[in-house]
Amino acid sequence: MASAPVGPIPLGQEADQPSRRARTLSRFLRNRSGQLGLLIILVFVIATVIAVFWTPYPVDQPDLPNRLAAPSLQHPMGTDDVGRDVLTRLAVGARYSLTMGVVAIALAAAIGVPIGLLAGYRGGWWDTGSMRLVDVLMVLPTFVLAVAIVSVLGSGIRSVILAVAVTTIPVFARLTRSLALTIRSQDFVAAAQVAGASDGRILLRHILPNSLSPLVVQASLGIGATILIAAALGFLGLGVQPPTPEWGTMLSRGRSYMSTAPFLVFFPGIVIALLVLGFNLLGDSLRDALDPWMREIE
């Protein structure tokens, strides 16, 4: 059966045209806001990697004579209430926000996507049952659900990841379900079924690969949203705890010095907003690039 040509053949495509994927990619690369988003994310990733090996100042060493120093050449973003360099701490803090965003979304996708695939492909009681179960998670406002979960699990990076992952499962499950529903009625799925492919093979080799692009869009937007939620939890004192230089936590601490050292609030906020903006721009432009194809498949 391995040689049977039942792969995910792009719809309505002539043999000598560039592939759908290549066309989507070129549309994406021509999109200016997508480039900007990618650039922002890249800068943050590079800063994170550099901060692992080298930082201009120690992360956690107080320097009391230099406390609350305004931004200068020595300290481009000033120093905090015990004299620690803000830029250093933000660069080190990037790894927590990136980790929480990526891991929480990966976890949510790892649970939500299989549920959605089966629900959409199988239909019937499995569909009804799993979707009602997923709906239960949506009776609460997302952030309230996250706060409730963290309030029982206790603060910390693991709780935040788990809380956000749980709140995001419905998004992935429902999106994947609707994709699987449309794709399963395509001719190439019927062809695979006729050729005797197993359900597992059809799901993994035909339906999943064809659902991937919209899922990537969702993941990109989801990472942005997660970083915001994690920062808000940190700000409320429910997230990653000090002295870890998590952005929301730093901002919350800087709040006490807002009248004398507003830069302690300003810079962490700007950094959060920029990284989230990066993921949102990337997700938006990926969606725009995919849009003609999405119409093709519907």
Partner: protein, 306 residues
């Protein structure tokens, strides 16, 4: 339509039940011991055992669940450990403040967001459009708590135009409401723009134009009324995010709403209170969804709900 509304009303029962169950699962089936969690780190083994007895944690989970449902049906939502009374009164004291703040924010978000969306759609692909949409993406990306603090710095500390927040001052609601609205404003502007662009390409718009109707009439009566349906649907969904966001904004502006009460209760390990507040948020959200759905059935003549 009548049948649809009745069916939608009846759906409120299972969803409320789902909310009750979710809250039970979160607060009872946590890893570890709810009694230990509630008593705090300093508690002795005896006091934890006593608390476990008091909370009925020695019974099986199904028994606990049934008793919990029974209590809820009888309006027994628990007793606050901090207030030393039923949780109902403190919650009822705060609830109107949260509803007020959310309603103010939603009004701001709808009026400004929809206006910006229409202007963008009418001038699609010009600099006006690009600028407003870039602002909208930025608006979606901003942390609300940061925006709030920055607005306070600018309008209260530097310019002295508005009070720092403060519930009892005359214009105290302006800054928290605007902050809370910012995110939804951006989402609604984007939504209105894209549906409006779609609507403006429809045949009936061309017909209206060729009849010689003024631009204003075409845009408002023919365009906007049709474009508003998806926008309002999104606004209904967004109310959930708005309620979630109010939790943080209330903390920033010391606004005496449910969110503040929730944060205080978490700090004081007042779990009966936390549980009740989470439940109230669920009921708020379900009620809003219900109202939105019923309103649509009444307002939108095109939709046949069977």
């Amino acid at each position: 339509m009548g049948r649809y509304i009745i069916r939608r009303l009846l759906l409120f029962i299972p969803t409320t039940f789902a909310a009750l169950t979710l809250v039970f699962v979160i607060f009872r089936l946590v890893p570890g011991d709810p009694a230990r969690l509630m008593a705090g780190d300093a508690a002795t083994e005896e006091s934890i055992a006593l608390l476990r007895q008091e909370m009925g944690l020695n019974d099986s989970v199904p028994t606990q669940y049934l008793r919990y449902l029974d209590d809820m049906m009888h309006g027994d939502f628990g007793r606050s450990r901090v207030y030393q009374q039923s949780v109902i009164q403190p919650i009822m004291d705060r609830l109107p403040n949260t509803v007020l703040l959310a309603a103010a924010a939603m009004s701001i978000a709808l009026s400004i967001g929809v206006t910006v969306g229409i202007l963008s759609a009418l001038r699609a692909h010009t600099w006006v459009d690009h600028l407003s949409m870039l602002t909208a993406v930025a608006g979606v990306s901003l942390p609300g708590f940061w925006l709030g603090l920055m607005l306070v710095m600018l309008f209260s500390v530097e310019l002295g135009w508005l009070p720092v927040g403060g519930f009892n001052t005359k214009w105290g609601i302006v800054l928290p409401a605007v902050t809370l609205a910012a995110n939804q404003m951006a989402v609604l502007a984007r939504m209105t723009r894209s549906t409006m662009i779609g609507v403006l390409q429809q045949d009936y718009i061309r017909t209206a134009r060729s009849k010689g109707l003024p631009q204003r009439t075409v845009v408002t009566t023919h365009g906007l009324r049709n474009a508003m349906i998806p926008t309002l649907t999104v606004a209904g969904v967004q109310l959930g995010y708005l309620l979630g966001g109010s939790l943080v904004i209330e903390t920033v502006f010391a606004w005496p709403g449910l969110g503040r009460l929730l944060m205080d209760s978490i700090q004081q390990r007042d779990y009966p209170m936390i549980q009740a507040i989470v439940l109230v948020y669920a009921v708020l959200m379900l009620t809003v969804n219900l109202v939105v759905d019923v309103l649509f059935a009444v307002v939108d003549p095109r939709v046949n709900y069977g």
